[in-house]
Amino acid sequence: MKLHESQGGTHPQGQIGFSRVAICGGTHGNELSGVYLVREMQKAERKAKERGNDMEVITVLSNPRAVQRGLRYIDTDLNRCFTHAMLSGSNTNDAPYEIIRSRELNALLGPKGSRDAVDLVCDLHNTTANMGLCLISYSDSDWLCLHVFRHLQRQMPDVPTRFIHFNATNKESYSLDSVGKHGFALEAGPQPHGVMRSNIYTTMKMGVEHVLDWVCLFNSGFVFEGGSVDVYTVVRNIDYPRDRDTHNITAAVHPQLQDRDFCLLYPEDPLFLTLSGETLRYKGKEPLYPFFINECAYYEKGIAVSLARKRRVAIPAIRVQTEQEQQAKKDECTSEEEEE
């Protein structure tokens, strides 16, 4: 399918409908909004609430053992276990729990890259950083995700909502949301791990509802006009200053940077305050947007703050493929196969 670069108003692109959507919580067992939201959705499912439009919503508690123990993970970070290499291979006796689990999830929601994979994976996360609501994706040209994002922004004007693009062209995708044909993480903060804040839960709940509403609207044939959105593309990460021998951190995020996610960071702005009171400054040449400022789980990954460039991305008008278009596509595929 060719992608048009022009703004809205022209012929909307037909996209395949969503018949299966997965909502995943507890991928990190101590990020509680997703854990409790999935539990509540599962309770509601038992009361047989249907959304109609032939859409199936699958709710998954991704890492139940970690949830039970209130930990991010048991052996290894589940949200790094979804590369093709890690998903293939057989389970050995000493395989980390999360590898076994990623393969189970791949069987349930994938297989990744295949025709049987769910149409959309929405993976719920929390962060200790003051990031509001973020939609995190590997792509800045998946028009479905960008339209979902714009819908969230418009439906939740009181919640700061942003789109973060991890540019993974050179690296293979490794997170749970990469298992679906489309996928993204919904990240809400600030919230300490192991804590449930009612305002953050409400934000997450509303976010998921709006995502599912959008999918229903889309499936029903609604035409979403084109337009443009701001996208934050990750450029680099900055680690804490560390002791050469012990590798322990020797400074804290500077009070002038703490909690100022998405406030432009200029060269020479304060970054860290050492234990002896010295200010360490941003030495980059380009002003960039900081986020994941002081995220607890990233200390061990060597990230004190991530930096992104912001740019405006045009999105085309889209609507679900009509039956005619679907048939034409099938015929196209069949004739291609015959040629091979």
């Binding site: 409790y36 539990r39 509540e40 209130g70 200790t128 600030p190 919230q191 300490p192 791990h193 192991g194 804590v195 449930m196 804040r197 009612s198 305002n199 839960y201 709940k205 322990n248 951190i249 804290a252 995020v253 500077h254 009070p255 703490q258 305050l273 234990l275 002081n294 607890c296 789980a297 200390y299 061990e300």
Partner: protein, 305 residues
């Protein structure tokens, strides 16, 4: 009356993921210049190194509940939970608890996910030395504030690591997520300790501290989350109560919010002052918050004997 506060310890990492204390104590173990005071031996000490290494609250059991008489006297060596063995070791080094050889003062550094600001934790309303110290700290940091939480409740009090000393002082600073180091929180704790050590130096130098009144918040009750028959939480701290530590909670005020948005109200008989609201570590201890009542305590004059 205390003749002299000669031996003082500063405990960090009693909970391995409460980062201010871990960082401060590690800093002072490397270089103790900042905590030196004339006539005092100040020992900074990491109480739970295994938990610190794993950046977790505890390995087997909560160290800050482990200093019971039973635990301190029990035999069993390697079979005992790590923190029980550790409690016995700490009791040998800084106690024995209740004996004349015990350390004079122990400061135990903690963080909380609750919006408690700076809080001093007092274990006895009759500890005039501690009351005077807390009064001194409060006056020194004014207009910044530091409240005093008194836990003398026969059922709710617990055996802390600092209880090994003659005068145990807890420092609780929040809000800070577990595993995270926030610069402002770290500096607040550092500042309080500075004044606390100044007080000890002044006391040792013979200064008399006249009688004073100290306002305290006395721990009254523990309130759990509403749960279903399987023990699962079915409501969250209400947005009106979240972050409102130390503000009055009146009967009828919103307390919890269910997942579908219904409000559960506080049904107590009078106004209370809630604290430890939504502390991460207390989910497993069945505590959403604790209620306290305001009280004025009079501290007698103290002077080095």
């Amino acid at each position: 009356m205390l003749s002299c506060a000669r031996r003082v310890a500063i405990f960090g990492g009693t909970h391995g993921n409460e980062m201010s204390g871990v960082m401060l104590v590690n800093l002072w173990v490397q270089n103790n210049t900042e905590v030196q005071r004339k006539g005092v031996e100040v020992q900074p000490f990491i109480t739970n190194p295994k938990a610190v290494e794993k950046c977790t609250r505890y390995v087997d059991t909560d160290l800050n509940r482990a200093f019971t008489p039973e635990n301190l006297s029990t035999l069993g060596g390697g079979d005992l939970p790590y923190e029980v063995r550790r409690a016995q070791e700490i009791n040998r080094m800084f106690g024995p608890k209740g004996s004349p050889e015990a350390y004079d003062v122990i400061f135990d550094l903690h963080n909380t996910t609750s919006n408690m600001g700076c809080t001093l934790l007092l274990e006895s309303s009759k500890d005039h030395f501690n009351l005077q110290m807390m009064n001194y700290i409060q006056k020194s940091i004014f207009p910044a504030s530091c409240l005093v939480l008194l836990n003398e409740h026969p059922l709710l009090k617990y055996s802390t690591s600092r209880s090994v000393a003659k005068h145990p002082v807890g420092l609780e600073v929040g809000p800070q997520p577990q595993g995270v180091l926030r610069s402002n929180i770290f500096e607040s704790m550092r500042d309080i300790l500075k004044h606390a050590l100044d007080f000890i130096e002044l006391f040792n130098a013979g200064m008399e501290f006249p009688p004073c009144t100290v306002e305290v918040f006395r721990l009254s009750e523990r309130i759990d989350y509403p749960r279903d028959d399987n023990g699962n939480i079915i409501a969250m701290v209400h947005p009106n109560l979240q972050d409102c530590d130390w503000e009055p909670l009146n009967p009828g005020d919103p307390m919890f919010q269910t997942f579908d948005g219904k409000t559960i109200h506080y049904q107590g008989s009078g106004t209370v002052y809630p604290t430890f609201i939504n502390e991460a570590a207390y989910y497993e201890k069945q505590q959403a918050f604790a209620t306290t009542r305001r009280e004025s305590l009079v501290a007698s004059a103290i002077r080095k004997a």
